[in-house]
Amino acid sequence: MVLELRNAKKTFGEGNTLVEAMKETNFKVERGELVAVIGPSGSGKSTFLTIAGGLQSPSEGQVIINGNELSKLNEKQRSKIRLQEIGFILQASNLVPFLSVDEQLELLNKVKKNNMPKEERQQLYEDLGIAKLHKKYPSDLSGGERQRVAIAKALYSNPAIILADEPTASLDSDRAFEVMELLRDETKSKQTATIVVTHDTRLIKYFDKVYQMTDGVLELQ
């Protein structure tokens, strides 16, 4: 089990103003699995994603990433877990505007412990079809290209988990399908546990499992 939520719950406020953003949730994902969490905006998808990604702690329950129980760690240690174990693909392009494609990965190379050998990095570029773009800056790339670079960043040095927040939001259908195919191929070949949060129901055919989030309740479809 790579990622597990045990009786995790997130509430904000107290008394009359208490809001349950995420009701008691049990969730598991294994290596090689591509999982979707779908639901309308405001349903608690993002809360789920940030808790699963160790960006915030659940009010109750546990989050276990690769054997590490997150609630027992401080922010510095959680930051380390995020860096080493999780690849994020975010809705807003998570590229650094003043770094070229090569430098985006070079930055990870500087801060991450387990680095990717040069050949493997080259293979990653080719898998994602961005080998020719490596000298370009984000402002020179199309939305699809940018998202592929973001995927390359997320996959850099083979994290256990990929968390993607609306990775196809800014893309047309063809590009969106392309990106999903890439994610599926990489999930299978790299044996990562990939969770995609989306409201885009066109994509459902790509997933092994689909969860529906409604008013803070997560249900397997």
């Binding site: 993002s46 960006l55 809705q91 807003a92 650094v96 003043f98």
Partner: protein
């Protein structure tokens, strides 16, 4: 360093602007320090050249050479390692073309205040011969010039030049004490033959010398600080320099803070991905260091370049160790200016950056 330098390369213009401001501030700091040093030299270089430890003056003169007069035998009674007598008189010297305010020091050529000449005769080879400060050369004075004085009919003759011989902003004319007494007291010279203004003392343990009645022994530095206008002028320039340090810290702080605020969401995303605050903070500090270093080094070079084009009338004199220290302080205060940005980065919540 990687992140810092990549950003500078990609955003040359905005970093060029801040570097140029740092450059101008450092130029001003270096220039003012040169000016302070040059003005100080104008006042004290003759005294510095004596390389003495203390000076004997009358107590009622209140540490002023101009107001002090006493019998030179006091020097013998001191029992110091080495002493030198100095008489003084101010005047206007006129070589026929140029008039110049000068101060004449009457000395004993056998004693250590006797200057080494850089040009001309090494002794007072003729009656009323003087060894003049080479600052007068720039004004058109030459060896062999006959100098008319404003206060006497006696003519002096320049027999040699020496370097570093200005006192209280006037070029010094060194001459035999006997000649000076004649000039100063005229017919009364005989009676006043033993009257001097000061006795310069070379003795590390001057503090333990027995001070004669109504006299005062003061350290050379104290003597210089009490020259008219010296301390006031120094403090003014020093305060300007200190203020510039504060200004450059403020400029850097504001600029970096604006840049950091612009990048909050980017830093938040990086933090969400697990890049540590300390890495990002180090990057900002490294960036500040690079900008400040470039600004200060170029400012340093420009200051020296500008200094070499200045007319000699501008009393700028660069002291490299002082400039290097000021340069390091400028870099240090710039980095201090980055502290607000570092604090901002540490406080960024990655959760907000990804809109969770």
């Amino acid at each position: 360093m990687f992140l810092a330098w990549s950003e500078i390369k990609r955003n040359k213009l905005r970093f060029l602007l801040i570097t140029s401001i740092l450059l101008l501030v450092s130029f001003l700091v270096f220039f003012l320090s040169g000016l302070a040093n040059g003005l100080a030299s104008m006042n004290r270089e003759a005294v510095d050249k004596w390389d003495a430890d203390a000076v004997l003056l009358t107590e009622e003169s209140d540490k002023s050479l101009y107001q002090s007069a006493f019998n030179k035998e006091e020097a013998d009674a001191l029992g110091a390692d080495e002493t030198a007598i100095v008489g003084q008189m101010g005047s206007i010297a006129n070589n026929g073309d140029v008039k110049k305010n000068v101060i004449m020091f009457g000395i004993d050529p056998e004693e250590f205040v006797m200057p080494k000449v850089t040009d001309g005769a090494a002794e007072f080879s003729v009656e009323n011969g003087v060894i003049a400060s080479d600052a007068l050369k720039d004004d058109g004075f030459k060896i062999g010039d006959k100098l008319e004085l404003s206060s006497s009919d006696t003519e002096l003759e320049i027999v040699g030049f020496t370097d570093k011989a200005r006192f209280n902003a006037s070029p010094v004319l060194y001459m035999d004490l006997e000649d000076l007494q004649q000039l100063k007291f005229g017919d009364a010279a005989e009676i006043n033959a033993d009257i001097v203004s000061a006795v310069v003392i070379k003795d590390k343990s001057w503090n333990s010398l027995e001070v004669p009645a109504d006299m005062e022994i003061i350290e050379m530095e104290t003597f210089i600080e009490n020259l008219p206008g010296y301390t006031e002028q120094n403090l003014t320039l020093t305060y300007m320099i200190y203020f510039l340090f504060v200004i450059s810290a403020a400029i850097v702080a504001i600029f970096l803070y604006v840049l950091t605020v612009q990048k909050i969401s980017m830093f938040g995303l990086m933090k969400a991905q697990g890049i540590s605050s300390s890495y990002l903070a180090k990057s900002v500090v490294a960036q500040t260091f690079m900008l400040a270093l470039i600004g200060v080094v170029v400012g340093f070079g420009l200051t020296l370049l500008a200094g070499s084009f200045l007319p000699s009338a501008v009393p700028v004199q660069f002291d490299l160790p002082t400039m290097i220290i000021y340069g390091l302080i400028l870099i240090a205060v710039a980095i201090l200016g980055a502290v607000i940005s570092v604090w901002t980065i540490i406080r960024i919540d990655p959760l907000e950056a990804i809109g969770g």
